[in-house]
Symmetry: C2
Subunit: 147 residues, 2 copies
DNA sequence: GGTCTTAATGCAAGTCCTCGCACTAAGATC
DNA sequence: GATCTTAGTGCGAGGACTTGCATTAAGACC
């Protein structure tokens, strides 16, 4: 059983004037191995086990390249580190609590009303999976309300 | 005419066990002088004209302190730099276009439907002024649709 | 398989912060 | 106004990227 779509990816890359390098393949494989969100640093660490000389900047550039190809996407959860994941996973929004730091996922469908308003009134097609919505979660609100 | 509420701020600070330092005052004044969004770096640069030895970390810490006091807030526009502004300005959401980088403001009221859904279904009180919504603006959508 | 073009890599330096720590100075108390 | 506690400062180092540049190596063409 071949690595999922490895050949196709190579073809797709070449069709776009890009190349399939060992580093690129390793980034792609690392991304496929971790099905949930991961960080560039985590990807780099994984790769370094087999290919120690990889440079962090190469990882960043490859994640971007894969995103351009539609194979990866990134999300900003907590203002600081960027989270990466495979593009074929179901997209969802994120709610992160500024008090406890907790994070919950929301189906993008729940954000449809917002999407509709923004499109209708501003012609703006928002990518609601891209940035987390920051606020205060139910349990922290309960505490601060004086429980 | 005294600087707006300078004395009150000092009192408020002391009431919270905090102090009014020259640096703090300068950060506050810089924030008051620029009524729109600004960056920590811009604030630092402004202060340095009159007080060259100020350290960037002091500016960051003071912006945070003023935020804690409810005098400042920050917004993440384009994933990279943090924008600061006075808390007394009208709050609004931001739509930033990932193609042209353009930014438009939306009254928070426009985001009410989203707020309602998140509260009802997730008990989550989102701060919709905190993070910009990333997406594609009307004019860029028109171009890529083939105009 | 050799040549050649240029995308991609690795390295170093830079940006925007954040954090730990020793020192300084607000401001409360005498 | 001297003393004392501790919040706040400056400095240095570190983290998460980003960027410019010389070098390397995909992969297209012979």
């Amino acid at each position: 059983m071949p690595e999922s779509g490895d050949v196709d990816v190579g073809r797709e890359l070449r069709a776009r004037g890009k190349r399939m390098t060992v580093q690129r393949r390793l980034v792609l494989e690392a991304l496929e191995r971790t099905s949930h969100h991961t960080t560039a640093d985590e990807v780099a660490r994984q790769i370094r086990e087999r290919y120690p000389q990889i440079d962090p900047s190469t990882v960043y550039r490859n994640l971007e390249a894969l995103e351009e190809l539609g194979l990866a996407t990134h999300t900003h959860l907590n203002d600081r580190v960027t989270r990466w994941h495979r593009a074929d996973l179901e997209r969802h929004g994120h709610l992160v609590c500024r008090v406890c730091g907790g994070e919950q996922e929301v189906p993008l469908r729940a954000l449809d009303p917002l999407d509709a308003v923004l499109r209708a009134e501003h012609g703006f097609a928002a990518d609601l999976a891209h940035s987390a919505l920051v606020g205060i979660c139910a349990s922290c609100a309960r505490v601060s309300a004086g429980g």
